[in-house]
Structure formats: structure tokens, C-alpha cells
């Protein structure tokens, strides 16, 4: 089983990377871009078959290590 965790900055938290990316796209002539945000994904290979159990466990991993919940939100996706 696989879990994909999508981690993004909470709304309102400064995202300097995103801002810089948007600006350089504009500089490169891509003028349709009004904003950019950067996030990360963590893909885990998991033993076991139980989707619900996996989800609970991955949530625990996010709270304990993978996400910085002070400034980040996360979303878990379990795929076969």
C-alpha cells in the first residue's frame, strides 16, 4: 500500500518561495501567472492491507514528524 501526504503552508503564512517563483515566471514572460505556492509531498510505501488502519497511522506520523502543524496543513491520500 502507498500513502501520499500533501503538505502545504497554512493560508496566511508567508510563502517566500512561492512568491519568488511567481515573480520569476513573470520575468520569463509567462504573464498569466497571478500567484504561486510551493508545497511538498511525501510518498510512503506501507506494509499491510488495512486502509483505515493505514490512514490512522499515517495521520499519527504527520502529527509527530512529517508536518509542522504550526505552519502547515496536510492531507492524506491512501493508494493501493
Amino acid at each position: 500500500m502507498k500513502a501520499i501526504i500533501h503538505i502545504n503552508l497554512k493560508p496566511g503564512v508567508l510563502d517566500p518561495q512561492g512568491r519568488t517563483i511567481a515573480r520569476s515566471l513573470t520575468h520569463l514572460g509567462f504573464d498569466g501567472v497571478t500567484a504561486a505556492r510551493q508545497g511538498k509531498t511525501i510518498e510512503l510505501d506501507l506494509k499491510g492491507e488495512d486502509k483505515d488502519a493505514a490512514e490512522t497511522q499515517v495521520k499519527d506520523m504527520c502529527e509527530k514528524l512529517l508536518a509542522n502543524t504550526v505552519i502547515e496543513n496536510y492531507r492524506i491520500e491512501i493508494v493501493e
Binding site: 503552508l9 496566511g12 503564512v13 508567508l14 510563502d15 517566500p16 519568488t20 515573480r23 509542522n68 504550526v70 505552519i71
Partner: protein
């Protein structure tokens, strides 16, 4: 919160204002404040901005001296280092934010202190950091260490300022409240120093840097409030640092400062736009009228309250000379930074804010500063500790241990063990002028003044063990140790900055720690002619009634006028003689040995008096060592601190990659000779021709100087005591921190 919010007693309390403070506000305004005005008063009168608990005590400190150009009261202190050059420096705490979000908290701490320095016209040339973490075994400690260190490196490395030194302690007393104190040192020309007084009426007020978001609103009040178990839940938005923008801001500000467009400039630190506008207006004796619609905003629908209290980073406020606006606009646009004229100075003496064509704040400025509470908090004098007498039971052999085992314990003790894991993550060599840094394990960093043959020496110090046992002696010792560390390079110590970290000042015993530590610091400053030119107070470092050990961190600066005449801990040659300057009585109370080996200091009843600092001896010993360095009599030098003679000798051995042999001591137990922590002492490494002159001149000056051993070979040993291989001992010293961080 919007302008229609009704001001209830609950709202007043949530702003950290007492009922009597609120009444005073109403009296000064002649009416009730609206929510914006309440917010502004609350941050200006918070502990963080008003120094209400500490102000009257800070006022007594020595702040003037021959080389002091600007003492406390501006963004940073300014000292003269000859030839028209000045050094601008300050240290500041970012304790609470770093505990909540270690990476960003520490990073924004570094960013904030750098702005204090370049806002005055200086190019930052060195950063330092003084860190205190909880017990290594505490579940949070490791993550905090990793995050804080990465944050400091992440910010400082990116802006291209070398982080050249610092100090790190671990103690259970910091479990719930770590300390992250960052220091920045900048270089400017004496005729190009910028101040924050907004003089003149009708001058344009400019906002430059990053946009304003809803970052850390109420950060300033948070920094002054005690933590409780709910703080995790009440987390305010944390500020995120953007070192890239900071670097651009440095370059843009320095470019603008090279023109003559600026009247006054001030960074937006705690309480952002509020405190920067009010401080500039108050110092210049003018009013300010700002149109908040002009403030560059990162998010839609920001209220005046949010804009005034936001702590978004990387922003500055400036008052420009009329007619020079275009110069600023051009430079800031070139650097891709926001720039906006947000208001004008006025002759009303009031802060007037408009938003969407409505007046949303109209308050007199003087009371915000002048009527800020200035408390005379009750305090008690600290307990007088007993002196710990020598006892045969303290001997390692009597304890069923051995000198070798004891030495290994000390070398791997968190406060002693190498901090390489930390400082290797800091760029120490960028800018091309780092002559000495953490890398050598020496006493002070040495940074050359670019393009010259002179340098400054920089150090930070404080021994919380001593301060806990006796705040007065501890305060004195912290100042004296920085002076000693600077002296070890051959520098003439000039001035200090401080970061006074304490618990809740509403408790008389904590207030007593503060008052007595300051008293000790001041005595040392006066005796050593070593004034305080800037600093910062951080109170309420306390969780569930558990206060941190009193920690007055001191940052010192000295001048090396000629780099051909300076010294370091390195430079020893095989066979050189070790001479100990300063008298050894074998002081054991509050020593590292007492703590780590004897298990004392763990609870209040086992704390003994720390080593006293004799300021007269401190001065003559140091002046003598400095003279020897200038006369090129010394190959290498190190001061004696934690762990006494044995640890100083081993640290010197490690840096020089040579063994040491220590002789027997005079008439005292061997453990006391090797590990006692008497103050005012230096370990000198000299060639054979210098031994007699160094010892005999000392005698004529009434200074104790003894030959204590030799450097060379591949073993570290003390006669009748320990005997280990250099490599083995070094490995013990180097392994603790990386192993701990990997575990």
C-alpha cells in the same frame, strides 16, 4: 476586531492591560479608546516594548565610556574603533517563538537583530548565538536543538554574514523555556550612522521591504506572557523569515544610505508599524499621520488593527528629505522590494491613522512613551550560599572511580563536549575576513575589518550555574568572562551588549535575581571600564511556575589594533611550556565537577557558593596577559572556565593536536587543583626563552604565575591523576553531540 468592537473589561484584560492602566489611557485620551487605539497602547505598554519591570534598574548601569558613541536607547550601540570606523552591535532574544517553532523562531531572531544593526547604517559583518536548551533527555530537546540550529544557519548563511561563534548550555531548568539569543555586529563609518529620530514637519514617511500580513499579531504581548499548558493550543500565527528579502533589504538600505535622502530610519521589530512609527515620532518630537490604505498588504481585507500590530518580517520605516523620494523609490524597485509613501510627519504630536477615508486612530504620542508604566516591583535578596569545603570524599579514587573516568565524564558532559555539530552548520568564512571562529574552540572570534590590518574580537558568555547559585556573583562573572575571553586574543575590550533572560518578575525572588545580577554586572563593568551600549530584556521565561535559571547573556567586543600582534588558542609548538596566570585555590562550589561528578547543584539544598570574581585581580591579570600578547611573548592562550585547569589544557591540546602533561599542583587536593573554577585565570603557552621573563615580571606585578606543564606528545596526562591518549580523549570530546543528535 473592528472599529466597532465594544471595549469590555475582558478585552482590556486580553490585551494584558490592568484596570488602572486602562483608566490612565482613558484619562490621557479624555475618552475611551477604540480597539485600534487600545491595541496600540497595549503593545507600547507591554513588558517587551516598555521595559516596565526593568527600566528603573537598567537606568543605573554604566553606559558611557571613551569609545562609546551611542549607548542604549537606539536600535543598537555604537562604539569607536579608530580611523573613522565604528562598530554597531546588539544582542536580542527570540525565546518564546523558538520554542513554538524552532526553525522559524530562531531564523526570525537572527533576521530581527540584523535589522537593528543595518538600520543604523552598518553592514553586518558577524553573527553570534547564545543558546540554552533543556535536559538532553527531555523529549523535546533534540528537535529543538535541530530546528534552532538549522534556523540560525538557514537565515545567516543565506544573507551571507558569517556566524562566527556562540555558546550552548543544556539544563533541565530550560525544559519548558529554551533561550535563543542572537547577536549581530556591524561595521559603519562614523559620519554615516543613522538614527531613528523623525525630525522636521511635513516630511514623507516611507514603508519599505516586505508586505504586511497577519503574522504574529500579538507577538509582542505573547513575548511578555508566561506560558501554560494551553499555549500549544493558543499558538498565534508564527512569523516566517525570508532571508532572501532581508539580503535585498540590506543592500537596498545601504545603497540609499550612501545618498543623503534619509532623515530617520527604524526597523519594524516587535509591534511592527506601531512601535516603529511611535518611537520615531517620539524621539523627533513630531506627530505622524499615516494612510493605512497605502501600506503594502499581503492579504485582502486587513483591518487597521491587524496592520498596526502585525509582526511581518523584513520591513523598515523611514522618514525622507522632501524631494528625495524618487531616489528611494528607484533603489527599492531595483532590488524588487515594496516601497510606499504611507504618511507624513506633522506638528500635532499625535499619531493619526486613516483607513478607507475614515479616521481610525487619533492619540497623543507622548503618553505612549512617557506614561508607559515604570514599575518598582518588590524583590527579595537571593539566598547566601555556603562555601563548599574540600573533602577527601570528593577524590575520584575515594569515590570508587578514577581520574580517567572523571575526565571522560567531563569531556562528554553536554556543556563541555564539542559543539562542532552546531557550528559546522554555520557559514563562518563568508566575507573573507574571519581570522578565528568556533572552529578553533578558542575564546573569542576574530573578524578583520575589511581591507585593514585591524580586527575586532567577539564573544558571548554566561554561566547559568553560577547565576542560579548567586545572581550577583554570576552577573559579575558573566561580564568578567567576556572581558577575559576578549583579552585572550590580545584585544582591548571595549563594550558589551546583553540579553537578560529571567522568569516572572511579579515574583519577588525572580525580581531579586534580576536586580542582583544587574548589580554584579554593573560592578564588573565599572571596574573593567567596559560599558553596556545595548541590550534586551526577556522576562516571563517560566512554565507552570518553573522559572529558568537566571541567564544574563553578555556579548563583548574588543579591538585588535594590529593583527600581527594577536593570539589564539592555536599556535603551540611541541615542547612549549604551559604557564598558569592567576591564583588557584581550588574553588569547588557550583563547579562543573560538583555538578557532573559529585551530583551537587541538582536541588536547591545542594547548591554552594560559586567562585567569586576579584575584579582587581581580574583587571591586572588580564592587562598583563594582553601586554604579553602585544609583546609577542605568547604562542597560544586560553582562559580557564568550566572544568578548570584540566579542561582548559585539554581544549588547548585538541586544537593544537598535541598532548599535554600537567604537573602536580601546590598544596591542595589534586581534584581541586585540576577542576577547581577559580576566576581570573589564563593558561599561556610559551617557548622556553619566555618562561623566566613571563614568570618573573608577573611576580614584580603581584600576579600569580606558575609553570604547570608542557604541551607536546600524544598523551594527555596530569601527574598522579589522569593519563589518556590524545586521540581517545579527543574522540570522547567530539562524539557526544553528534551521537546524541543521531540517536
Amino acid at each position: 476586531m473592528n472599529a466597532k468592537t465594544n471595549i469590555t473589561p475582558k478585552i482590556v484584560a486580553e490585551h494584558g492591560l490592568s484596570q488602572s492602566e486602562y483608566e490612565l489611557i482613558c484619562e490621557r485620551l479624555g475618552r475611551q479608546p477604540n480597539i485600534n487605539e487600545l491595541g496600540i497602547f497595549s503593545v507600547m505598554w507591554s513588558e517587551h516594548c516598555s521595559y516596565k519591570s526593568s527600566r528603573r534598574h537598567l537606568g543605573k548601569l554604566l553606559t558611557k565610556g571613551k569609545r562609546v558613541i551611542q549607548g542604549p536607547g537606539e536600535n543598537a550601540g555604537v562604539i569607536d574603533i579608530d580611523d573613522g570606523d565604528v562598530i554597531i552591535f546588539k544582542m536580542e532574544s527570540h525565546n518564546h517563538p523558538s520554542y513554538i517553532e524552532p526553525y522559524q523562531g530562531a531564523a526570525t531572531g537572527v533576521g530581527g537583530i540584523m535589522r537593528d544593526v543595518f538600520t543604523m547604517g552598518a553592514r553586518p559583518i558577524a553573527n553570534m548565538n547564545a543558546l540554552r536548551f533543556g535536559d538532553p533527555a527531555h523529549p523535546k530537546t533534540k528537535t529543538l536543538v535541530a530546528g534552532v540550529v538549522q534556523g540560525i544557519g538557514g537565515y545567516g548563511n543565506c544573507v551571507g554574514v558569517p556566524t562566527v561563534g556562540g555558546e550552548t548550555n543544556f539544563d533541565a531548568g530550560y525544559n519548558g523555556n529554551i533561550l535563543v539569543n542572537a547577536m549581530c555586529v556591524g561595521l559603519a563609518r562614523a559620519d554615516k550612522v543613522f538614527y531613528s529620530a523623525a525630525k522636521g514637519v511635513g516630511n514623507p514617511v516611507f514603508y519599505v521591504g516586505s508586505k504586511t500580513g497577519r503574522d504574529g499579531i500579538h507577538g509582542a504581548t505573547m513575548a511578555s506572557a508566561e506560558f501554560d499548558d494551553d499555549s500549544d493550543a493558543k499558538r498565534p500565527t508564527v512569523q516566517v523569515g525570508d532571508p532572501f528579502t532581508e539580503k535585498l533589504l540590506i543592500e537596498a538600505c545601504l545603497e540609499l544610505m550612501a545618498t543623503d535622502a534619509i532623515i530617520a530610519i527604524q526597523d519594524m521589530g516587535a509591534a511592527g508599524l506601531t512601535s516603529s512609527a511611535i518611537e520615531m515620532a517620539d524621539k523627533g518630537g513630531v506627530g505622524i499621520h499615516m494612510n493605512l490604505d497605502k501600506v503594502p498588504q499581503r492579504e485582502p481585507d486587513m483591518t487597521p488593527y491587524e496592520m498596526m500590530l502585525s509582526e511581518s518580517q523584513e520591513r523598515m520605516l523611514m522618514v525622507l528629505k522632501p524631494g528625495k523620494e524618487h531616489i528611494a523609490i528607484e533603489i527599492f524597485e531595483k532590488w524588487d522590494l515594496d516601497v510606499a509613501e504611507v504618511g507624513k510627519t506633522t506638528d500635532t504630536g499625535r499619531l493619526v491613522l486613516t483607513h478607507k477615508k475614515k479616521k481610525v486612530c487619533d492619540i497623543p504620542i507622548a503618553p505612549l512613551a512617557d506614561d508607559a508604566p515604570n514599575l518598582d516591583r518588590p524583590y527579595t535578596s537571593p539566598i547566601k550560599r555556603e562555601i563548599l569545603k574540600h573533602d577527601p570524599m570528593f577524590d575520584p579514587n575515594e569515590r570508587g572511580s578514577s581520574y580517567n573516568a572523571v575526565l571522560k565524564t567531563l569531556l562528554s558532559c553536554p556543556d563541555i563536549a564539542s559543539k562542532r555539530w552546531i557550528w559546522e552548520q554555520y557559514d563562518r568564512t563568508v566575507m573573507g575576513d574571519t581570522v578565528d571562529s568556533s572552529q578553533s574552540g578558542g575564546d573569542a572570534a576574530i573578524v578583520r575589518i575589511h581591507g585593514t590590518n585591524k580586527a575586532i574580537a567577539i564573544t558571548t558568555d554566561c554561566t547559568p550555574r553560577y547565576c542560579s547559585a548567586d545572581p550577583y556573583e554570576g552577573g559579575k562573572q558573566a561580564v568578567a568572562e567576556t572581558w577575559r575571553n576578549l583579552t585572550c586574543t590580545g584585544a582591548q575590550p571595549i563594550a558589551i551588549t546583553d540579553c537578560l533572560n529571567f522568569g516572572n518578575p511579579e515574583r519577588p525572588e525572580i525580581m531579586g535575581q534580576f536586580v542582583y545580577a544587574l548589580k554584579g554586572m554593573d560592578e564588573a563593568c565599572r571596574a573593567l571600564e567596559y560599558p553596556i551600549v545595548s541590550g534586551n530584556v526577556s522576562l516571563y521565561n517560566e512554565t507552570n511556575g518553573q522559572a529558568i535559571p537566571p541567564t544574563p547573556a553578555i556579548g563583548g567586543i574588543g579591538l585588535i589594533s594590529d593583527l600581527q600582534r594577536h593570539a589564539e588558542i592555536s599556535g603551540a609548538k611541541d615542547g612549549d611550556t604551559l604557564i598558569l596566570i592567576g591564583e588557584t585555590k581550588g574553588w569547588m562550589g557550583a563547579s562543573l565537577y560538583a555538578q557532573a561528578i559529585l551530583g551537587l547543584n541538582r536541588e536547591d539544598s545542594t547548591v554552594y557558593a560559586p567562585p567569586p570574581v576579584d575584579l582587581h585581580l581580574e583587571k591586572i591579570n588580564g592587562d598583563y596577559v594582553r601586554r604579553l600578547i602585544l609583546d609577542r611573548r605568547i604562542r597560544a592562550v586560553h582562559d580557564l572556565s568550566d572544568g578548570g585547569l584540566a579542561l582548559a589544557a585539554l581544549e588547548m591540546a585538541f586544537t593544537n593536536d598535541m598532548g599535554v602533561t600537567l604537573n602536580n599542583g601546590p598544596d591542595m587536593p589534586l581534584y581541586a587543583w585540576l577542576f577547581g573554577e577559580d576566576q581570573g585565570r589564563y593558561l599561556l603557552c610559551v617557548d622556553e626563552y619566555s618562561v623566566n621573563p613571563v614568570v618573573s615580571t608577573a611576580q614584580t606585578l603581584g600576579i600569580s604565575a606558575k609553570v604547570v606543564g608542557k604541551i607536546g606528545g600524544d598523551r594527555v596526562s596530569a601527574h598522579g591523576g589522569f593519563d589518556l591518549s590524545l586521540r581517545g580523549a579527543h574522540m570522547v570530546y567530539e562524539s557526544w553531540l553528534p551521537e546524541y543528535m543521531a540517536s
